[in-house]
Symmetry: C2
Subunit: 414 residues, 2 copies
């Protein structure tokens, strides 16, 4: 049995332990929700103050040039690229995950159509994050050319479902509820063998698990900067278009930031060469600038080191919950197999929402997702082994004493 | 002849003069570019610090509920509404102007199609801000149903061009280059008489001129918060959907923030009732929150008072330039007629870019737009009559002494 003393020892030997000091975390809180909103890098406050007081307030309009505001989406994209196995000038940080997915899907459908393919099916999972499905429905419905969004209920269906009618396979690499991680290389190969393209949503993967987009044969990808990348609430998302697809990448959100000569003010759209064509309109500079503070922390370590600790944390959490809360009706929804696990763990409980509310009231912040799933995210940049031990101890105490309110009022945002 | 002493007297009697203290403006600068990037409200820095340190850093994920992050687009929309003649729950602050225009155009085309109208033409001006044209081209091209974007070269063409084939008239209310202001009521009526819908872009109007969207019969509108509304660089834009159109408003960027029950995580999109269906994905909270600081300043005065001073400032600028720079080849591109003028003035000069660069080097910050137009924005919240006098004096000196470099290297962002 692992003891709290064991955990203290592991923390003392943890090569990543010093990185916690890069973050501002409130006292009395064990934060296990970095999968939803990453903690604040200390540097973000000063960065924002500089952008607001100096670049906006003092330099005003000149900052588009002097502070490089216009190039920020590309500069941040290049800084993010190594974390996801992307190349130089293949990523921009811009807009939202939903919108970037719309662009990626539209571009993928267009690539298929220009190849003359009569493929009309977008394959995805019913358990995908809803906005991904909604955006695919929005796009396919509006195109009015017979596109359909096919929802599968299990990953086992993929080999049978992906076929000659499949235009695009659209998957979220790590599932937001269960933490299930797809095999990017095998599934990309499966799609390609059938002549389909594959679009990956990395919302719960970027900064959480090692990624090799180019090496694994992905076609297009999008992701989020405000979860594991610690970019700040609602910070702009990213889109990856590999060099081999950039010349054919075209999408309907053709705003002036994606134009070949945006300040020539020509009345016809002509997309710029390269990744810039994934841009659309003017970006929220202050929120965007803070993304860099999150990325800077990652440059102090490696995704391999983070992955090693991430698996150790999630292994420990599963082990301790199953040992110490064995008498309670908890069901693990996260794969035990390392290769299939992201950096989060979900347990069902009949009163999942009430139990999570009780945990939060006692300073253990995870979150809840329908149906009945308590979700715990583990961020090796700032989560310690001892915190895992303490969180499980508080969970055990709440469950043993039934110290939760089954009629707990639901927050608007849960 | 107006003298500098006259200007000092007008400033002393200006009822809006005290509002300048609400802004942080750098010493030694006459800022005439609020039409491109509004100055920084002093309150914005503390607001951002609070959002970053307290709401993000300390309260973390809980702020989606406790700080009202999820409702921010609607709350800010309601605060902005009185400035544009919109009703309660008719505006949201979200995404970019380009994207909101895409939503509005798509919704307008859909309304026409569901009415059974075989209308395939989107009418707009060749002189419109390019991204508006590009987004219309992107939408119509992708829909692949015979939609065309028809560009007119003069507002006089509108009565002839708007006809039985017109689905949507899409106009920017105040032209970004010339400051020409359309007659919203008459043009909306013209569109309606032909069975067309009208979409207005208020990028250079909101906070600059009085607007009465509902009273003037507009159908849909979008606009910008980082120009005259002083929301901060790249701050999220807004979209207005009047109550009478909300039930029929549907658009393809159907992300989870526009869902009737976003946290039910259902696999089918169902738009929420009301203005919320214009939302798509998660918004950049820090940039969004600062928009409120700009709106708060407007609540200290009225659009009528601002308009009175705006016209006085632009009248004065035109008068002084024409008197004091009479020997130079300057051409006024802005209407002299008050009703047709926004809150900016443009002059052409054969070396417009070089002259503007020289002005900026001497602390008079306007900007340049192709072809050959020097653009000067007047923001009655913080621009004084004496600044207008001084700006013209510096312009006169630069022109008289030919103190500009005709080979001035162009900045990337001009």
């Amino acid at each position: 049995m692992t003891t709290r003393t064991d955990c203290l020892q592991r923390d003392a030997q943890d090569p990543l332990a010093a990185l916690r000091d890069r973050f501002d975390l409130p006292p009395g809180v064990i934060y296990l929700d970095g999968n939803s909103l990453g903690a604040r890098p200390k540097a973000a406050l000063a960065r924002a103050q500089h952008v607001i007081a100096r670049e906006w307030g003092h330099d005003l309009i000149r900052s588009w040039n002097t502070a490089g505001w216009f190039d920020l989406p590309k500069r941040l994209g290049n800084r993010l690229a190594p974390l996801i196995g992307a190349g130089e000038d293949e990523v921009v940080v811009t807009d939202t995950t939903s919108l970037n997915l719309f662009k990626a899907l539209a571009a993928a459908l267009h690539m298929q159509a220009t190849d003359g393919a009569e493929r009309r099916v977008i394959v995805t999972e019913r358990s995908n994050f809803p906005t991904d499905i909604y955006m695919a429905q929005g796009l396919s419905g509006w195109l009015d050319r017979g596109y359909v969004v096919k929802l599968i209920d299990s990953v086992e269906e993929l080999p049978d479902v992906i076929g000659a009618d499949t235009a695009v396979v659209m998957l979220t690499h790590v599932n937001y509820r269960t933490g299930y991680q797809h095999d990017m290389r095998a599934t990309s190969a499966l799609a390609h063998a059938a002549g389909a393209l594959i679009v990956w949503d990395l919302a719960h993967s970027a900064g959480a698990v090692p990624l090799d987009l180019n090496g694994d044969g992905a076609d297009l990808a999008v992701g989020c900067t405000y979860k594991y990348l610690n970019g700040g609430p609602g910070a702009p998302a990213f889109i990856w278009v590999p060099r081999r697809h950039q010349a054919r990448f075209t999408q309907p959100l053709s705003g002036w930031w994606g134009h070949a000569a945006p300040f020539a003010m020509a009345p016809d759209f002509a997309p710029v060469d390269g990744i810039g064509r994934a841009l659309c309109g003017t970006q929220p500079v202050v929120s965007l600038a803070m993304v860099e503070c999150g990325l800077e922390v990652f440059e102090q370590t490696s995704m391999a080191a983070l992955r090693q600790k991430s698996l150790a944390l999630t292994d420990l959490f599963i082990e301790l919950v199953e040992q110490r809360c064995a008498d309670h009706p908890l069901g693990l929804v996260t794969p035990r197999e390392h290769a299939r696990r992201g950096s989060q763990v979900g347990f069902t409980h009949p009163h999942g929402y009430a139990v999570m509310s009780a945990l939060i009231a006692r300073g253990v912040i995870g979150d809840y997702r329908e149906p009945a799933i308590m979700r715990f995210g583990f961020t090796p940049l700032y989560t310690s082994y001892t915190e895992v031990w303490d969180a499980v101890e508080i969970l055990r105490d709440i469950l043993d004493r039934q110290d939760y309110d089954v009629d707990a009022k639901r927050d608007a945002v849960t």
